[in-house]
């Protein structure tokens, strides 16, 4: 793989990664949000895979394949299953902040991410550190999604996006996390999603809905 292709693929992956986060803010259909999360997983996995192929590093490729299987296939499937059981709850109810403002806030967060990651880029201006702001922007957008959405499931999606962003930042800055660390983190996320899935199911059985705003009152 030449330097130019490596740059191109890495930038495309980082761009798609950020674009998926933005589209998750834009869309309200829970199914398409989950599908976008899967696309984001593919873009995330492309980062270690590209670096692995470019640096001829077998361990990185293994990490990339694990990330691909977990974040682009397993987790979205689990979430899609949770969406499928929610009859009549396929849509996010109106978020706390309306979509127009959310999109403008997302724009501001992206610019903020570029501003705060400047020192990291100047430390070591390589193609991979240049893409760090995109990963960092995804972290900020994910936190915003978590606080502004009402459904338990979209908040779970926000949590997964946060984890994707942290993983992408790690891949881009360190150029390769040790296999065991990545496996540990991935296992952690898998269990978190399983627990979240169980909790949403339990909430729905008990209260008949997962709109968290309506769960403030005590029920006896």
């Amino acid at each position: 793989m030449t330097q130019a292709t490596y740059n191109g693929v890495l930038n495309l992956a980082a761009g798609a990664f950020l674009l998926a986060a933005v589209l998750i803010v834009w869309r309200r259909e829970l199914r398409s949000i989950v599908a976008l999360l899967a696309w984001q997983g593919i873009a995330l996995a492309a980062i270690p895979l590209t670096e692995g192929v470019y640096q001829h590093d077998g361990a990185l490729i293994v990490v990339g394949v694990v990330v691909l299987l977990l974040r682009a296939v397993a987790l979205p499937l689990l979430l899609a299953q949770a969406v499928g059981t929610e009859a009549g709850e396929r849509r996010e109810s109106t978020p706390l902040v309306n979509t127009t403002s959310s999109l403008l806030i997302t724009a501001a967060l992206t610019v903020l991410a570029y501003a705060v990651t400047r020192p990291i880029i100047t430390l070591d201006p390589s193609p991979s550190t240049r893409a760090v702001p995109a990963a960092f922007a995804v972290i900020l957008i994910a936190v915003f999604v978590m606080v502004s959405r009402r459904r338990a499931l979209s908040q779970a999606v926000g949590f997964m996006m946060l984890d994707n962003g942290i993983a992408a930042t790690a891949f881009l800055i360190t150029a390769g996390v040790p296999l065991i660390v990545e496996l540990g983190a991935s296992l952690d996320v898998l269990f978190a999603v399983l627990v979240l899935g169980l909790l949403t199911g339990h909430m729905r059985r008990t209260f008949g809905g997962t709109d968290l705003d309506q769960l403030r009152e005590l029920r006896g």
């Binding site: 495309l12 980082a14 761009g15 933005v22 979509t99 403008l104 724009a107 201006p125 193609p127 240049r130």
Partner: protein, 323 residues
């Protein structure tokens, strides 16, 4: 004056004449494609020209109480659009006006036309005029910054905000068209051009339904030759914006800064084909989509603004330094 400058000037004159003469044909073609796809016979490609001729022959009526703002708005819209048509690198790159106005000038002229029409809508003092103006300015407030950002993203690789420089940089290096930056800029620009020219998901110019109309509500009080001028100008805006988009993303066939007669002819044919293609695609897509609710439009435009911003960040921050 040397021959090359004369030829460059000729190309500019030719492109203004072509925009003036062919813009009703572009509008007519788009309507005809829609009509055929919807199973209607349609009025034919020449219908907008016949409408203009009919309107131009009619008597000029001015509503009571309107001021000079109302009287001059159509001329301002048409004039700014013609000036944009003379500046843009549509047929050849070396327009004599090119050094005088860059991308910011073009967007400013575009906005000047919009503001003139909205003021005219307010000047009539009718409920519809005010409503249309308010809606138009809501849309314009999001559209203009998006056009600026999208073309700014494209100007980063060419290191210049001059439109001719952007077009020639893309023509010399077509590889940068598939970078994330220009793809995002393309989508953002397509959305704002649809919004700016009042095409379907945003506005439907073929209806006069008070709940939905935007552009038509503003110009409801115009009649006769002035209405003809406003309609003509909106057709020209559509043509010019399609031409800009075509040459930013498909910069082939554009004559150089010192064109020959043959290059000018090739440029004319190329830009006509590109605009016809884009207009055809737009008209076809229009058939399959429904109009957005007015309160959802800012959502769409904020989204396209964000895409344009991402385009700028992508092309500015990801760009690997050349040294």
């Amino acid at each position: 004056m040397s021959t090359t400058t004369a030829l460059a000037a000729l190309a500019t004159v030719l492109q203004v004449v072509a925009v003036v003469a062919l813009s009703p044909v572009v509008v007519g073609g788009m309507r005809q494609i829609r009509a055929r796809l919807e199973g209607r016979a349609g009025g034919g490609i020449g219908q907008p020209w016949r409408d203009l001729r009919k309107l131009l022959r009619k008597q000029q009526l001015t509503p009571a109480g309107t001021t000079v703002v109302f009287a001059f708005a159509p001329a301002v819209v048409a004039g700014t659009t013609l000036l944009i048509a003379a500046i843009l690198p549509l047929i050849a790159l070396g327009s004599p006006l090119d050094p005088a106005a860059d991308l910011f000038g073009v967007v400013g002229l575009l906005f000047l036309g919009t503001v003139a029409l909205t003021l005219a809508g307010l000047d009539t003092g009718t409920a519809f005029g005010g409503m249309g103006s308010s809606r138009e300015i809501t849309i314009a407030a999001l559209v203009e910054p998006t056009i600026l950002l999208a073309v700014f993203a494209l100007s980063v690789p060419g290191h210049s905000a001059n439109l001719a420089a952007i077009v020639s940089a893309t023509a010399h290096n077509p590889g940068q068209l598939v970078s994330p930056g220009s793809l995002l800029a393309f989508v953002a620009l397509a959305i704002v051009i649809i919004a700016e020219t009042g095409l379907l998901p945003v506005d439907n110019p073929s209806t006069h339904l008070e709940l939905t109309m935007i552009h038509e509500a503003m110009i409801l009080e115009y009649a006769g030759p002035k209405l003809a001028l406003v309609e003509w100008a909106s057709g020209m805006r559509l043509t010019v914006l399609l031409g800009l988009m075509a040459n930013l993303f498909l910069p082939w066939g554009v004559a150089g800064a010192h064109p020959s007669m043959l290059a000018i002819l090739i440029g004319l044919v190329a830009i006509s084909l590109k605009v016809a293609l884009l207009a055809g695609v737009l008209a076809t897509v229009e058939v399959f989509i429904a109009k957005l609710r007015y309160f959802r439009i800012p959502e769409l435009l904020a989204g396209s603004f964000l895409l344009a911003l991402l385009a700028v960040t992508a092309s500015y921050f990801f760009a690997t330094p050349t040294n």
